[in-house]
Symmetry: C2
Subunit: 293 residues, 2 copies
């Protein structure tokens, strides 16, 4: 399988991993990479990636059959505005943003004129950022959600599916709204909780923390810039999931404060066993949960 000329706009962790994976798997005839800063392109040149590099997005997308927007979500609309006239009308345009409802609204002009637009979200990443953290195997076994709407051309959906599958990902189709609710549950609310846990532990307590706290809070080392944008772009779904969680935690707190020991233990057992069993299923069925330990 070959996707012709592929343009990656924004070679950070995800864009850079895409470039490495496409090269390793021989999936692109030509690889175009756009970055705003010449220094970012230098890093890619030094790494020996076989690609044509440019700080001009129109130049990068002009001949592209597939365009992948890998810039932060708040930069997407501006970038697309800058280069949309250069898109080939048959180009598949997708992104890798962590929020889909707002991106879909921001990029609405794309579906009105030219290019085959569909949103994508690879559920892969790291608390690290930038090209230096990129890995050719980042998408292997990862879920990639694509978010067709009633405006999406069937060809865009099919080609996006083919593209991500060719990189080793599992592709799941969801509406932007369902996507945003799911990622609030499995990514955005967990991120807020990890940050809250770090802030709430006293300095003295943090120095004693072991491997459990290290892993529970790992994502809190992610870029604040990136996460401020993600969380504010998905504010309503995050608030809704957070509310459900708070209600659950308040009930637990009351039990811890007031329930007789036997009732408390029953309550804790129900909560912990449900979580234990659900997570065992994840370890069995989700390839990313098997990958490490």
């Amino acid at each position: 399988m070959n996707f012709g000329t592929v343009a990656i706009l924004g070679p950070g962790l995800i864009g850079g991993s895409l470039a490495l994976a496409l090269a390793e798997r021989g999936l692109a005839r030509r690889l175009m990479i756009y970055a705003r800063s010449p220094r970012a392109l230098d890093e890619i040149r030094l790494a020996g990636v076989d690609a044509e590099l440019s700080t001009n997005p129109s130049e990068a997308v002009r001949d592209a059959d597939v365009v992948i927007l890998c810039v932060p979500i708040e930069a997407m609309a501006g970038l697309v505005k800058e280069c949309r006239d250069a898109f080939k009308p048959t180009a598949l345009v997708t992104d890798v943003g962590s929020v889909k409802g707002s991106v879909d609204r921001d990029l609405a002009p794309l579906r009105e004129d030219r290019a085959l637009w569909i949103g994508s979200h690879p559920m892969a990443g790291s608390e690290q950022a930038g090209f230096s953290a990129a890995r050719a195997d980042l998408f292997e076994g990862a879920a990639v959600i694509i978010t067709p709407t009633r405006h999406t051309h069937q060809i865009a959906e099919q080609r996006a599916e083919d593209f991500w599958r060719a990189l080793g990902a599992r592709v799941v189709n969801l509406s932007p709204e369902i996507h945003d609710s799911y990622v609030a549950q499995i990514s955005h609310v967990p991120h807020l909780l990890a940050a809250a846990l770090v802030c709430h532990a006293s300095k003295e307590a943090r120095e004693l923390a072991g491997g459990g706290f290290r892993d529970t809070t790992r994502v809190a080392s992610g870029s604040p810039d990136l996460w401020v944008e993600i969380l504010s772009a998905n504010a309503k779904p995050v608030a809704k999931e957070l509310e459900a969680l708070i209600t659950h935690l308040m009930a637990l707190k009351s039990h811890l404060e007031e329930s007789p020991e036997a009732t408390l233990k029953l309550t804790l057992r129900a909560a912990l066993e449900a979580a234990h069993d659900a997570r065992s299923k994840m370890v069995e069925s989700n390839p990313l949960f098997k990958k490490h330990k």
Copy 2:
């Protein structure tokens, strides 16, 4: 350094790792291991650990210079009652329980008659359990909290410090009460949150989860039996820390629901940057945070 005859009561993850570490470092002249079930002892025999094995705790502790109680916290009082008459009056007796106030109360008889009692808590572990998960390097770089009280003999404190340091751990002295408040912050509340996150994600969302959710929720795969006992033994401190966290999350939720975008972003940035910076300090200063990635 040599600690003479060392008795390990309960060769699970922690007790088993102690046995392996003592053997590897040549820290015990004789190693005694007690387990309730003959099958548990068979596993240790098969692993080729050089130790004298017994299902009789009095037999295991009779000649011991150091006794380490590695059974679940709810089993400690019963076990000590069973074998306390066999303790040498000069024996250092310590434990590895995750809660110290309740253990100290349960084992109060120890300080009244014989043996040098002091509580210990190695901040090392895993979501796995049992001897099969034991590792000789489990304590290397880990913090071990010892919890002297006004009843603790100075010799007990000194020998406990020496013992854990000889295994490669950093030793920190805290009162049982401060210990229980710190572990509520860095272990018990994070455990409840991890379990809550797993339960709150829908089945469909869980199937899409990536490495972030895997790590944030890893501890939720820990034994429900073990954690019901830990959380209920430390109920009041856990409730107190949970309350502070809930208050913080409720404020965030209000911002997500109601604040203008600029205010929301400022609030999120403050929370995420504080967490990011605090965690960076942990990565720099806490050896366990450097060990992996």
